[in-house]
């Protein structure tokens, strides 16, 4: 069945906030988020462990300018409700944070994903304020080949049975 994915914060420039409902028990969803073999089938190969402080990586095919490694560290782990880890694509890129929360609801699980820290640096605030609405809409968009599109494509091919 096709999953309905909703955004709680469209247009936010600091965070992605997505929510999805799965007609499955919260324990099963938790296992899919925390068992390395399961994670590998829908996200990327990894050496994840559900232990706060554990450093791990997600790995996919390298691409020009990207070594194919996402560097992570577990920040929060509260089975089967909350999980958070850092997420850094390349050492030069800022460290962002991926947070999962799972809520049992009638008929299944509501899963919320917040990926934050894209522009949190307070030192950039005056500049952002000055750019104002232009930050989101007015400025000419630069067409960037999509690093994470490649990342997704890589994990899709790895995820095939």
């Amino acid at each position: 069945m096709t999953t309905d994915v909703r955004s709680n914060a469209p247009g936010d420039h600091d965070a992605i906030d997505l929510e999805a409902f799965y007609p499955h028990p919260v324990e099963l969803v938790w296992r899919a988020l925390t068992e390395p073999a399961a994670l590998a089938t829908w996200l990327m190969t990894n050496d994840f462990q559900a232990k706060v402080g554990h450093r791990f990586t997600f790995r996919t095919d390298p691409a020009p300018g990207f070594d194919g490694i996402v560097r992570c560290r577990v920040l929060d782990c509260e089975p089967p409700r909350r999980l958070a880890y850092t997420w850094r694509g390349m050492p030069e890129l800022p460290e962002t944070i991926v947070s999962w929360s799972l809520e049992p609801v009638p008929g299944g699980t509501r899963l919320r994903l917040v990926h934050s820290g894209f522009a949190t640096d307070p030192a950039l605030a005056p500049l952002r304020d000055l750019l104002g609405g232009g930050w989101r809409s007015k400025l000419l968009a630069i067409t960037l080949p999509d690093l994470l599109g490649r990342l997704a494509a890589g994990s899709r091919s790895q995820g095939a049975p």
Binding site: M1, T2, T3, V5, S7, H13, D14, I16, L18, A20, Y22, H24, L28, V29, A32, A38, T41, W42, L43, A63, P64, G65, F66, M90, E92, L93, P94, T96, L111, L113, H115, F118, A119, D121, A123, L124, P126, L127, L130, L131, G134, W135, R136, L139, L140, A141, I142, L144, P145, D146, L147, L148, G149, L151, A152, S155, R156, G159
Partner: protein, 110 residues
């Protein structure tokens, strides 16, 4: 030719340094000469020039000659890489959340 990913990293490297962020914030107020930009900082002018060079290379700042002076202005277009970077992650996560749904559906089939 620089890869676009490389260029994105350049922007983040450029804005990672506090003095360069201060320069950007100054330039957000309008065009400045090199001397005006160096004045507020307790570092040597060559050091400021070096930071300006990083910003120029990242495409965040433009330079023009005005007589004997060089003038600098902000080019905010490049800052959209932050927004684009976020958008590409959002696309990734939407795909992955669908893949998670498929995975879960497969787990509970008899």
């Amino acid at each position: 030719m620089k890869t676009v990913q490389r260029a994105t990293e350049d922007v983040f490297t450029a804005i990672a340094h506090p003095l360069r962020r201060e320069l950007l914030n100054l330039l957000a107020g309008g065009e400045h000469t090199a001397g005006q930009l160096a004045a507020p900082f307790a570092v040597t002018r060559p050091a400021v020039s070096q930071h300006l060079r990083v910003l120029l290379d990242a495409g965040l700042v433009r330079e023009r000659r005005d007589g004997r002076e060089r003038r600098y202005r902000l080019d905010p277009d490049r800052l959209t890489v932050v927004r684009d970077w976020l958008a590409s992650h959002e696309r990734l996560w939407r795909l992955r959340l669908h893949a998670l749904g498929d995975y879960l559906d497969g787990q509970e089939q008899p």
